[in-house]
């Protein structure tokens, strides 16, 4: 017997579909924090996730509900990894070349929304939804919340005038979309503050990014997705992790993708140089699952790990972190007030402009240009910064609460 069920409108619980970008793990963490706050405000709200690896791993660990259509999604993170070579990721072009993945995934999302079961879609840098609903406004279903931590594609110098033209053209299309169909984004959230916005224009003849963003977004403040540890917690983490008080621990991490071997090699080459002036130096290298440490040099006081559980505790408790320029990790370090050096990936406009601008505002971290920095320079930075005091601005702790309140308002 075929059986079907239809639920009367007033008998239905409120439901949200959360789409969390899988490019970088940071979205998952902040989206979980927002979802938790949202459930406090709307206890009856059911949240399903349309998500892909590696976001699903985080969600599954938290017992969240993953929509079965998720298994059809084409992998955005694998695409981005495939676009990286050495310490280089041209992320604007990588996003452009992701066009077929975005269409494929939008079609899946649209089918899910057309079942009519969701009151709202929450898209954290879900580029496909935002773009294609503006292109096909008749397809919009339910309310839509758009979230991002940067606004505006910016050209890298290596792309010359053609890239200036392309980024301006993409920005212009986005501005036209919003002007023509303000009804597509029921709520647009900027994860951060107006001061985090770069002092640039969208392109020749286009508005200033900050002016336009202030007009079209609400600001949540930064969302780390965790409570920064107290001094007591830090001390206890440090002893649990076996980091002694009389040693200077430098944690080097390059994320989970294969991108980063070049940076690791350069930093490791700096180790013996720094160790000479700082005998108490200990370097902990987290190579990630895709980099085999077997081919990397061995030194006394230098250790390699493929994976460490609770990496954030290592980053919080160490004396110096050396990382790439991704927003999540660097802002985590800003929040835990850890001294750090960060090396944005070459040609990555978001890391080189948007993230760097934000970190400068927080006075957090030391920007390093991978291209021109040699092991001697890294060694000198290690010596001067490991364990040194920092004067970072406090990172907000109420971002997720703010975002949830704004979302709850429209649900």
């Amino acid at each position: 017997m075929r059986q079907h069920k239809w639920t009367r409108g007033l008998n239905r619980r409120k439901r949200a579909l959360y789409i969390s970008s899988p490019i970088g793990l940071g979205h998952a963490q902040r989206d979980l924090a927002i979802a938790k706050e949202l459930k406090k405000l709307e206890p009856d709200l059911e949240i399903d996730w349309l998500a892909q690896d590696p976001v699903t791993r985080v969600l599954e660990a938290e017992g969240e509900t993953i929509h079965p259509a998720s298994e059809w999604l084409a992998s955005e993170s694998a695409h981005i990894a495939s676009e990286a070579t050495g310490h280089d990721l041209h992320c604007f072009q990588a996003l452009r070349r992701m066009d077929e993945i975005l269409v494929a995934n939008f079609m899946i999302f649209q089918e899910v929304m057309e079942e009519g079961l969701y009151d709202v879609s929450l898209g954290d840098e879900a580029w496909d939804i935002d773009h294609f609903w503006h292109e096909n406004p008749e397809l919009k279903r339910g309310d839509h919340v758009w979230m991002t931590d940067f606004v505006g594609f910016l050209p890298m110098p290596s792309g010359g005038s053609h890239e200036e033209y392309l980024t301006a053209d993409y920005n212009a299309e986005m501005i036209e979309h919003i002007a023509r169909y303000p009804r597509i984004r029921d709520l647009a959230l900027f994860v951060g503050s107006p001061d985090d916005i770069v002092p640039e224009v969208f392109g020749p003849g286009l508005p200033k990014i900050r002016d336009w963003t202030e007009e079209h977004f609400q600001f949540t403040g930064y969302i780390t997705g965790f409570e920064p540890p107290t001094d007591d917690e830090l001390a206890s983490w440090r002893s649990q992790l076996g980091y002694r008080e009389d040693e200077k621990v430098c944690v080097v991490t390059v994320g989970g993708s294969g991108v980063g071997r070049d940076l690791l090699e350069k930093v490791i080459a700096a180790y013996p140089l720094a160790k000479r002036s700082m005998p108490e130096l200990r370097m902990v290298v987290v190579a990630g699952p895709r980099i085999d440490p077997a081919g990397l040099p061995a030194h006394d006081g230098l250790e390699y790990h493929g994976y460490v559980h609770g990496l954030y505790r290592h980053l919080a408790a160490c004396d110096l972190a050396i990382v790439q320029g991704g927003l999540t990790t660097t802002m985590e370090l800003a929040a835990t007030r850890t001294p750090f050096l960060y090396f944005p990936l070459r040609n990555h406009f978001e890391q080189n402009y948007h993230v760097r601008h934000r970190l400068d505002r927080y006075r957090a971290g030391r920007y390093m240009d991978y291209e021109v920095t040699d092991p001697e320079a890294i060694g000198a930075e290690i010596i001067s910064r490991a364990g040194a005091p920092v004067d970072y601005l406090e990172v907000e702790t109420d971002g997720a609460t703010n975002a949830a309140a704004m979302i709850a308002d429209i649900i």
Binding site: A74, D99, V103, A104, N105, F106, M107, I108, L139, D169
Partner: protein, 295 residues
């Protein structure tokens, strides 16, 4: 990275020419996505394949001259009869008894001729931006076509559609041609993709293709009169390559229906993929329902 990779790839050979094909998904409802002018290859379906393959079995292939197929400069292999045979060869090689054919631009001629000559193999046809001599070309294109084999000094506009210009300034021609294909604002990626695919073949191939006798108006009308299965025509009203009148006439002559993309250019499947994907899927789903009813 591609959004989806084929479940099966293969080649067929006809008179020494090798053609590459790809099969996505499974089942007994097949969409055959035909090649178009060999200046681009089957990757032009990249925004359709992942979606359609979740609902149907999808077969794509490259005509001679580009993609995974041989770059022959023998005009014979580009003849209309040969092109129709390739479609049937690919269907045979992929065990596709019958299929819904989807074509772009010049592919419309191959689709129509297959539907006319092998009606039992074709369940329906979707034509996107059909370019075929069912009504005259635009005046500017007709004029440049007359001088196709003549050498111009510093040709501009459609005069670049010229055998000599192709062989001396191929990339510039491709830039011009795909700018004409995508008059919609903000089409940089679509143009770039097409120019990139154009550079995967060479002008000698296009010249060989252009040497083949053109199909005439009467033949096209004859094919149309023999079409027995459903037809959907999708056409931009800002198509600078093939006038909208052709789509109207094709829909009328085949008893099909026409969807006009207002503001759309010649390749809406790339510039407005979402709406085109949904139209193809709806059309093919209705055919599947009809098949079930007949079964």
């Amino acid at each position: 990275m591609r959004a989806s990779y084929p479940d099966h790839v293969g080649t067929v050979e006809r008179e020494g020419v090798r053609l590459g094909y790809e099969v996505f998904g499974e089942g007994d409802r097949t969409l055959l996505l035909l090649p178009t002018w060999t200046i681009i290859h089957s990757r032009f379906w990249k925004l359709q394949v992942p979606y359609l393959a979740r609902h149907f079995r999808v077969v794509t292939y490259d005509a001679p001259g580009n993609g995974q197929s041989d770059r022959s400069v023998d005009p014979e292999i580009y003849s209309l009869d040969a092109q129709a045979s390739y479609a049937i060869d690919i269907m045979d090689a992929t065990s596709t008894a019958e299929a819904t054919l989807v074509s772009l631009s010049m592919g419309s001629m191959w689709s129509l001729s297959v539907a006319a000559e092998y009606p039992d193999r074709v369940l329906g046809q979707v034509f996107i931006g059909p370019s075929l001599p069912i009504t005259p070309p635009t005046a500017v294109r007709a004029e440049s076509a007359e001088a196709f084999w003549l050498e111009h000094d510093d040709p501009q506009g459609w005069d670049k559609y010229n055998a000599h210009y192709w062989q001396t300034n191929y990339e510039d021609f491709a830039e011009f041609f795909f700018t004409m294909c995508f008059p919609e604002p903000h089409s940089t990626k679509q143009r770039e993709d097409c120019v990139g695919w154009a550079l995967e073949t060479m002008p000698e191939v296009l010249v060989a293709k252009a040497s083949v006798d053109a199909v005439n108006h009467e033949t096209v009308l004859d094919w149309c009169s023999r079409v027995t299965s459903p037809v959907l025509v999708i056409h931009g009203d800002d198509d600078r390559l093939s006038p909208l009148s052709r789509a109207r006439q094709l829909a009328e002559a085949t008893g099909g229906s026409l969807v006009i993309v207002e503001g759309g250019g010649h390749i809406p499947l790339a510039r407005d993929p979402i709406v085109v994907n949904r139209m193809i899927k709806d059309f093919a789903s209705r055919i599947a329902v009809r098949q079930d009813e007949l079964a």
